[in-house]
Symmetry: C2
Subunit: 405 residues, 2 copies
């Protein structure tokens, strides 16, 4: 995996980004990002379903419930402002107040985001002090820099960009994300921001962000830990000059949705590829299920099994562990004699047992790859789902045993 080339990231008309070093947790580190949105922009988001959601998530929900006409986004790393009670909520509001004052906006036009350590007091005065530098840095070309500015344990910044032609106009979709641990998004990832200049009816932005999340961030997992701060935000600045899109199932709506899903999926997969300690990228497809939900259930059981994940790390085709995970996924009337399993092109399991023609060296060959696909057919229906995950390595333990030190 490589850092995104800044030149491959198209600016989005109506969006500028600025980055500063506020010293939230550590000095000399880009840890504060401001995105300024042109007047008239529409913003929608999906947020963690963790009941212990962070203070900034609560403020975002509150502001978006009142209006989708946001004008700025502010992100700090180093401190998640989660598990911080009423005091944390006050500090998230104070961040919005400070930025509103400096930008000549109202606090309700600002969405705050935090990511980092949980249950520590947010040093809001450092964020206030850092805002002028971030505002002075605002520029349309700063997407790659902003991707760096929202990193925590990420080893690489994550950004993606697409251009499509809609109604004869070039429309841009560009986004950034962060996250490497505590990743099993439920509605959204740690942090993801995607912006488009497409003109689109404002009421379509919310269903669009939900669809994009379900096809991307809601299908990845690293360690099964759903963060307190997961947030995925879609910004539409309406600046592209296309005739406004009025339905998602029109040709224009579909083209925009496809571009947004492509960007969101690239960002989500980049999070998995950069998973804490990850050495392999694994696609798990469950097919032949009765419902998409039960396919997801089985896929996540495999993706979260520490035994499966360590086998991938070891390149060991100990594939019975995958069967065991399917078996305990909670599909109560599963018939094991109907199960088929493929590892890439290798047919490993048939009628629930080892395929007589399966040879260990074929499994071994696939397990050594950097990208592996597992395909399990449940033999009970036509539904399917794919989940992306990574392996569990020594480095995952090292990173998380040392995270705060």
């Amino acid at each position: 995996m490589q850092a995104p080339n800044p030149d491959s990231l198209f600016p989005v008309a109506g969006v500028t980004l600025g980055v500063a070093e506020a010293g939230v947790r550590k000095a000399n580190r880009k840890d504060l990002v401001v995105m300024s949105l042109v007047e008239g922009s529409t913003v929608a988001g999906v947020f963690t379903k963790n009941r212990y959601c962070a203070a900034p998530v609560q403020v975002c929900r509150e502001h978006l419930a009142a209006s989708s006409a946001m004008r700025a986004i502010v992100v700090n790393t180093g401190n998640a402002n989660a598990g911080t009670g009423a005091d944390g909520l006050a500090r998230a509001r104070r961040t919005c107040d400070a930025l509103a004052a400096q930008m000549g906006l109202s606090a309700a036009q600002i969405l705050p985001f935090s990511t980092g350590v949980i249950m520590e007091t947010l040093p809001v005065e450092r964020i206030e002090a850092g805002l002028p530098a971030a505002l002075a840095d605002l520029a349309p070309a700063h997407w790659a820099k902003a991707a760096e500015g929202i990193m925590t344990t990420d080893t690489l910044p994550k950004a993606a960009s697409r251009q499509v032609t809609i109604g004869g106009q070039t429309v841009t979709v560009t986004g950034i994300s962060k996250g490497a641990g505590m990743i099993r998004p439920n509605m959204a990832t740690m942090l993801g921001f995607v912006a488009t200049d497409a003109a689109i009816a404002p009421e379509l932005v919310q269903p669009l962000v939900k669809r994009a999340a379900d096809a991307s961030f809601n299908r990845i997992t690293i360690d099964g830990d759903t963060s307190t701060n997961d947030s995925f935000v879609l910004i539409a600045t309406h600046q592209a000059g296309n005739a406004p899109i009025t339905a998602l199932d029109s040709a224009e709506g579909a083209a925009l949705q496809e571009a947004i899903v492509a960007v969101a999926r690239e960002l989500a997969q980049a999070i998995v590829r950069d998973g804490e300690g990850a050495t392999k990228f694994i696609s798990i497809t469950i097919e032949g299920g009765r419902t998409e939900d039960e396919c997801c259930q089985a896929a996540y059981a495999i993706a979260h099994s520490p035994l499966v994940k360590t086998a991938f790390f070891a390149s060991d085709p100990n594939l019975g562990r995958i069967l065991a995970a399917v078996g305990y996924a909670g599909i109560d009337d599963l018939d094991q004699t109907l199960i088929e399993m493929h590892l890439d092109d290798v047919h490993v399991v048939t009628q629930g047992g080892r395929n007589p023609s399966y040879r260990e060296e074929d499994g071994q060959r696939v397990m050594k790859q950097a990208e592996i696909s597992v395909r399990v057919n449940l033999g009970r229906g036509a539904a399917r789902a794919t989940v992306w995950t990574c392996d569990l390595s020594h480095d995952y333990v090292s990173i998380n045993a040392d995270y705060r030190s």
Copy 2:
């Protein structure tokens, strides 16, 4: 943790045990155990809810459905005979046939158990060849030796024993168990066998094994992986000379149940203490829940979180990770502002946020201990539940990355 002292394990009248080296997977390793039960014994069991249950589990269920009057138990390690389809089932039956022929029993009077690698063909001919040596070894005092004979990645054998006086007679309860990975029993552990010589109405043995499992093996987890082979079996030989127990809620029934639960819990906790790579033993109690189920849900979310488990490994009081796990446990209407958390005697969280009087060094002190208790109050009811688990260390990864090699 230490190996049990063989002298502390009371023999159970009517039970003899024999061990052999059958070379199922590796040579020169005790890997075959036979338990012979006196005529008139009653046997009941609880088995994995994994839908990919192993062939021997299927045979056990079948035999126990027909009768509780079992006469022998045979256990092999090195191969789980799971994910092996119809051929695996035939091999499990052949094991019973072979032992029946050598003991002069019918195959239906025998319960077979296997544990080890999944999805490999069971070398049943090696088991057949090993049976005479196991039978020649049968003796009442061989509980400790049998505990060794059922080990796989266990570093220590697990056994426990109690004597209680019931109706003026000394009654014995002795048991053995194994398991160190793929441990999140759902009905029972990898393998657990408890025998008592108490005289008891045969129809009470099944409810008794269920109650004992729910208070012990069904409350432990190491890695969240529910095995394909989990089995917990209770044997009553009725030889103690007490007036037969006719109700579990009588004084005599309660005394026996208490002794059986004590043995089962000691065996279950021994599995956690010997968890793959485990360096810490952690008790997680959730109280103030509306139902025991939701308390278990929250306790397991904490117990399965790789982030929580690595923090325990590192002795790092990164306790926000525990709050995050409570938040994503799936209790939809949880009010985070009512949460209280203690780490041993240290009051860490109050009203959902950091307790102002909590000092990091107090958390640090507790996290350094070899045994740690986490207590979370949900503030919404009177139910409670306790789950036992261990930390996630580098050695867990090493052990499971190398298991088959």
